[in-house]
């Protein structure tokens, strides 16, 4: 799939400023909007928030995967953010989330969207991967970890 291996360096936020769920959604959405022309930050934020309202994407083990489909967007994009202090995210295990992957996809590429979510899920199920992501010192080290994925 190579979704994670090909993450853009500009879409890696090693130190998130956000301290709340809403702030982190804003911060990730803003980063994506900067890189992709024609995306509206408020629309993207709302889509992510609507998805969270159906059920938190905080899947436990410090991980959150906010995601959504957006009309008129031409590709699949991911953005990674890390919060060393952790952010309360209504996660399944009730613990704060530290590692955030934002996934957005066009509204009509339903199939690959499903694959991308599965890829992220597989990647993050590995406890070693999670702890390496937490320990990486800078974007380059993070990038190296991502590049090693299949």
């Amino acid at each position: 799939m190579g979704l994670i291996a090909n993450i853009k360096k500009d879409l890696i936020i090693p130190e998130l400023h956000a301290t709340s769920k809403k702030e982190v959604l804003h911060e990730l959405a803003a980063a994506v909007v900067k890189q992709y022309q024609g995306l509206d930050e408020q629309t993207l934020y709302q889509i992510l928030l609507d998805r969270e309202n159906l059920g938190s994407t905080g899947i436990g083990d410090t991980v959150a995967l906010p995601h959504g489909k957006i009309k008129g967007f031409g590709e699949i994009a991911i953005c990674f953010g890390r919060s060393r202090d952790g952010i309360a995210y209504d996660a399944l295990d009730g613990k704060p989330a530290h590692l955030f992957f934002l996934l957005i996809a066009p509204e009509d590429t339903a199939t690959s969207y499903l694959n991308c979510l599965a890829e992220l899920s597989r990647f993050l199920k590995n406890a070693q991967t999670r702890s390496r992501l937490m320990q990486a010192a800078d974007p380059n080290e993070l990038l190296a970890i991502f590049a090693q994925t299949e």
């Binding site: 399944l92 339903a110 969207y113 979510l117 599965a118």
Partner: protein, 450 residues
């Protein structure tokens, strides 16, 4: 357990088939010798000729040794009287089917108590409840609830272009954690399989999933690109008891209802009783009338006349003109297997709905808490408690030698609901929602036997 069933009609037959198939001792009483002989040929039951309202016949049939008494003849009076007679004997549980609203409409519980009957079943009420459950899940053709409504088993028709089509079960399992669901079965060409990792979802499959109720919207959106919501515009064809009751309940849910009824006298009654429903005097097969009233814009068409033919044809007509979904009342069980191919979304058989209700009640006593038979499939779902036995403590599901043809859809532990993976650990006293094809029941019961 010795079970006596009075009435060898469709419900009686279905119950005899289920219960005798599970190894229960079934005595079946009916006045029609031909019917009894036919059933005796097919099933392992003891037939007794005579009226269930006769104490002599009941005694001959061995009522004094009977644990469970079920009266399901066509006559309400016979059902009630035979239940009352059975009171003199040592019968533990009595169940009667009644059609006439007067017997149950007001204060059912009191009527049940006064008559010494444990469960009064009205097929019309049962169907109405089933329809109301189905309409909230507009995309699913089958809905069953467990854990007091917190767990749903839903059936969907896989259609071209939906995200899950072409995916293997393994692909979908990787989504666990983000989206919690278990695909418990796939029904393909009228055959139900419990899918394994390599099996893929194909167009035309009926896919059965178990999930938490609160997770239904996101999972439905992810897999089927769909969102269930209550219908805005509904058509009901047939203003009999079911049509009337459904219309009344839909009004309370603020759904726009158009009710089509052929009999003008009945229309007057309906128009008087129903506040917001538009009552149309037509026969459900007049395409012109229906189109004039906007059946092409309907989210849901419910065909509940007393004629299967009218129900099938009016559903097809509605679908042809663009109605999104139809629920079709079918009395003849022989029709059900072909209806999927014709494009009928949800066939609803009163026989099965009533029999289900009885089975659920009957089996409530033991380890099995709840059982549901799926429409148009030979699979069942049970809710059962696993025994307090150390061999189940901390056992990961993948090491449990689970019978072929069965799968665990959900685990209730205390107040918590777990959608399991292979790594989930079982605990004694867990309640399980288990899905199985009909051959596997015995094996499941053996596995969890004390």
């Amino acid at each position: 357990m010795r079970i006596m069933i009075v009435g060898a009609g469709m419900v009686g037959y279905h119950l005899s088939e289920k219960l005798s198939g599970e190894g229960q001792e079934v005595v079946l009483i009916d006045q029609d010798d031909n019917k009894l002989r036919r059933i005796e040929r097919d099933l392992n039951v003891l037939p007794v000729l005579g009226s269930g309202a006769s104490a002599r016949v009941l005694e001959e049939a061995g009522i004094d040794k009977t644990d469970l008494f079920i009266a399901v003849t066509d006559s309400d009076e016979v059902n009630l009287i035979s239940c009352i007679i059975s009171k003199q004997y040592n019968v533990k549980t009595r169940i009667a089917r009644v059609r006439n609203e007067d017997f149950y409409a007001q204060g059912t519980a009191q009527a049940e108590r006064a008559l010494g009957i444990d469960l009064l079943i009205s097929p019309d009420l049962a169907i109405t409840e089933e329809i109301m459950r189905l309409i909230t899940m507009s995309q699913a053709f089958e809905v069953a609830e467990f854990a007091r409504g917190r767990i749903e088993l839903l059936g969907y028709n896989a259609q071209a272009g939906q995200p899950c089509v072409g995916k293997s079960l393994q692909d979908l399992r990787d989504l666990q954690g983000i989206y919690d669901f278990v695909i418990v079965a796939i029904s393909r060409n009228n055959k139900t399989i419990i899918p394994r990792g390599k099996d893929r979802i194909e167009v035309g499959d009926k896919v059965y999933l178990v999930m938490r109720k609160k997770d239904v919207p996101p999972v439905e959106n992810l897999l089927f690109n769909a969102a269930s919501h209550a219908p805005k515009n509904a058509f009901i064809v047939g203003g009999g008891t079911i049509g009337y009751l459904v219309a009344r309940q839909m009004e309370q849910k603020k759904i726009n209802v158009r009710l089509v009824e052929q009999n003008s006298k009945r229309c007057e009654f309906l128009a008087e009783q129903l506040e917001h429903t538009v009552v149309l005097n037509s026969n459900g097969l007049e395409a012109h009338d229906l189109l004039d009233e906007g059946i092409d814009q309907a989210d849901l068409v419910i065909s509940v006349t007393n004629s299967d033919t009218t129900n099938i044809l009016s559903s097809l007509l509605a679908k042809h003109h663009g109605a999104k979904k139809c629920i079709t009342h079918i009395t003849n069980p022989g029709f059900i297997p072909m209806l999927g191919k014709l494009g009928i979304d949800v066939p609803l058989s009163p026989r099965q709905v009533a029999a289900n209700m009885i089975l659920r009640f009957v089996r409530g006593g033991g380890k099995i808490v709840n059982i549901t038979t799926l429409q148009g499939s030979d699979a069942e779902v049970i809710e059962m408690k696993i025994p307090n036995n150390d061999k189940f403590a901390d056992l990961p599901l993948k090491y449990l030698e689970f019978p072929m043809g069965a799968i665990i859809g959900a685990i209730m532990r205390g107040g918590e609901i777990i959608i399991p993976t292979g790594d989930t650990l079982l605990q004694p006293n867990d309640n399980l929602v288990v899905f199985f094809t009909k051959d596997a029941l015995q094996a499941v019961e053996n596995l969890f036997g004390e």
